[in-house]
Every structure is written in structure tokens, then in C-alpha cells.
């Protein structure tokens, strides 16, 4: 049949790349939706301990972070420091911090507020206990000891 003759030069048509931006945009939107911006720079060195029974903290907007560990800048010594927002703070400032974070939240979400304690594994419990007592006083009763999944 003449329809299928193989005479004549065949040329591979050039590939159309017009859909490439669409694909890249799709990936871009995926990343924009699934990720969160790095909100703060850590002033303290935190190596959170390992634990096998961890639960994921859902709803990032409800979580407030408290970072505890030795300062990242070695000039500041090796004593345990606490970081609230972008600066060092004392345990006594927790109540104000919690109140401020609570106020910036939706009223319906306020009882659901979770405080994630990200503490270095070498921290003394005395410090953690003080923080816990301060959180109790501030009525931030839902806490989470931040830990990585896995056995040691």
C-alpha cells in the first residue's frame, strides 16, 4: 500500500518546551504549600534527643517554640541559654512571651496552643523544670518535648 511507503526523508520534530514552565510552576506551588519558611535563626545549639514514640505536631500555627541549649557563639560561654523569638531570654520572661503569642492567635485556637520545648540533650533538668513551672504559671499546659524519631 502506498500509504506506508518509507520513501522521503523523515525528520524528528523539535520537542516543544512550552509546557516546561507549567510543570516547573506546579513543582513550585507544591513546595510553597508544603513547606514553611525558616522563621528564626537559632542563637543556641540544639541537638534534640532521640525517641521512638514521637508524635508529629500538626498545625504549625498553633505551635510556639522555646529553644534551650548552649549559645551557638562560643564567645558567650557554654552555659545553658534560652531563646525566645530572636533573642536570649531569662526564664522569668516566659510568661510575657506566652501571653504575647497567645494574644496573636485566633481566640478559638488559644486553648489548643502547644509549646514545643526544643532542648539540647545535655541540658540539666533543673533548667527544664524551671521552664515547665513557668509554663504552668502562664497556663500553657500543652507541651511537647521535641525529639527526633529513631533509636539513639
Amino acid at each position: 500500500m502506498g500509504k506506508f511507503n518509507k520513501s522521503g526523508k523523515r525528520e524528528v520534530p523539535e520537542m516543544s518546551t512550552t509546557s516546561m514552565p507549567d510543570i516547573v510552576f506546579a513543582i513550585l506551588f507544591f513546595f510553597m504549600v508544603t513547606t514553611t519558611m525558616r522563621s528564626e535563626t537559632l542563637l543556641v545549639k540544639v541537638t534534640v534527643p532521640h525517641a521512638s514514640e514521637v508524635q508529629k505536631l500538626e498545625k504549625k500555627s498553633l505551635v510556639t517554640y522555646i529553644n534551650i541549649g548552649p549559645p551557638a557563639d562560643v564567645k558567650l560561654g557554654t552555659g545553658t541559654q534560652m531563646q525566645l523569638n530572636d533573642r536570649f531570654a531569662q526564664v522569668g520572661e516566659i510568661q510575657d512571651y506566652i501571653a504575647q503569642e497567645k494574644a496573636s492567635m485566633n481566640e478559638a485556637d488559644q486553648p489548643l496552643m502547644t509549646v514545643s520545648i526544643k532542648a539540647d540533650e545535655d541540658t540539666r533538668m533543673q533548667y527544664i523544670t524551671d521552664v515547665k513551672q513557668a509554663l504552668r504559671q502562664a497556663y500553657a499546659l500543652k507541651i511537647s518535648y521535641s525529639a527526633r524519631k529513631g533509636e539513639n
Partner: protein, 210 residues
């Protein structure tokens, strides 16, 4: 003015890909995917008056887990007291001691209705669990010293949570014939009511100082 039809040249879209790639790479760099995870706990509300700080618990209902300044763990109830020198012993991997989680499970269940373990109360948990005896007033009290390391404390917390998780898993297997993770929210609530996490994080005590 001469009205001539001007031809608008078609916009070249080939550089759009470059621009969007640039955006993509920017977001890849500034964002972090990892979701924070941890051991969730609920703190008791602050004491209103001086005499409210302590609650009387019957000795048999109390399981004390104490992590001392040398990061050793003491696990004591009325039945027995056990010392664990390190985390591996805590998990029962070395040393031949009964793992902490197994002791807590035995304590919470009290299948033998022993007088040294928490008292059993019959409670109704709806179908298909029905009326079963549970140790409704047991308390696992985790205590620590001022100089206990956070790592050791979390290791102990983890073992306690693991004991409860295993109990719930076994409960789900027994009553719903499936794993805990596959239950509906209602069924999970039932299992949680059956094995509530009754963990107390006591006020700090300075054991070494006295």
C-alpha cells in the same frame, strides 16, 4: 495619522522556564520540610493555694520512676523496686532485668489482681469492649533530680509512653482485631479511655541536698 494594522510580535516564552526555575530554587533553599515532632505531655494547672500542691495517692496505685543525678533510673511500686544503670538496661536489652515498659504494662493491667498493684475497678467502655476491670486510679510518677540530664529524662519518658502505646495496640488487637492506627477516631477514643495516660511529672526535689 495613517491607520495601519500593526502586528504585535508573539511574546517569547522560553525564558519563563528560567524565571520559574529561579523561584523554585529560592523556595527550595529558604524552606524546610521537616515537621517538628516530640513527646506530647499535659502539665497540671498551677496550684491555686499552698495546700493544693500534693494529691494523696494510695501507695499501691503509685509507680515511681526516678531519674537521679547520675542518670540512673529507679522504678518502684509496692510490688518491687528495680534500678537501671543506663538506657540499654531500661529497654531490657542488657543486664537481664525486666524492661521498664514491661513493668509499667504489668502495673497498669494488674491482670493477676495482686494486692501490690493498683486496685481494679469495673468500668463500662461501650461495645465492643463492654464492662472490664481497669486500674482507673493508677499514677506513673516521673521524678528527676536537678542535675539529671535531659537526654536520660527523655529516654525514660519515651519508655513510659512506649508502654502505653503497646497497651493501646494490644487493646486494639483484642477488641477491634486491627491495629490501633487503623481504628476510627471514635474507636481510638475508646481505647484511650481504656488505657488513659496517667503520667505525673512531679515538682522538682533536691534529693542529694538533704
Amino acid at each position: 495619522m495613517a491607520k495601519t494594522k500593526r502586528k504585535v510580535p508573539p511574546l517569547n516564552g522560553s525564558s519563563m522556564a528560567d524565571i520559574s526555575f529561579l523561584l523554585l530554587i529560592f523556595f527550595l533553599l529558604v524552606s524546610n520540610m521537616d515537621v517538628d515532632s516530640g513527646l506530647a505531655r499535659r502539665l497540671p494547672p498551677p496550684p491555686q493555694t499552698e495546700d493544693q500542691t500534693s494529691v494523696d495517692v494510695q501507695r499501691r496505685n503509685l509507680f515511681i520512676v526516678l531519674v537521679n543525678a547520675r542518670n540512673e533510673t529507679m522504678a518502684a511500686n509496692q510490688h518491687a523496686t528495680e534500678w537501671y544503670a543506663n538506657e540499654a538496661e531500661l529497654r531490657g536489652e542488657v543486664g537481664g532485668k525486666v524492661a521498664l515498659k514491661d513493668r509499667i504494662k504489668e502495673f497498669v493491667l494488674n491482670t493477676s489482681n495482686s494486692a501490690d498493684l493498683p486496685e481494679l475497678e469495673e468500668q463500662d467502655f461501650d461495645a465492643p469492649i463492654g464492662v472490664v476491670p481497669v486500674t482507673a486510679s493508677h499514677v506513673v510518677s516521673i521524678q528527676n533530680d536537678a542535675t539529671t540530664s535531659y537526654k536520660a529524662y527523655i529516654a525514660v519518658q519515651n519508655e513510659v509512653v512506649r508502654a502505653y502505646n503497646e497497651l493501646r495496640e494490644e487493646g486494639a488487637k483484642k477488641y477491634f482485631n486491627t491495629s490501633y492506627g487503623e481504628l476510627t477516631e471514635m474507636q481510638q477514643k475508646q481505647i484511650q479511655d481504656l488505657y488513659p495516660q496517667r503520667i505525673s511529672e512531679a515538682e522538682p526535689k533536691n534529693y542529694g541536698g538533704q
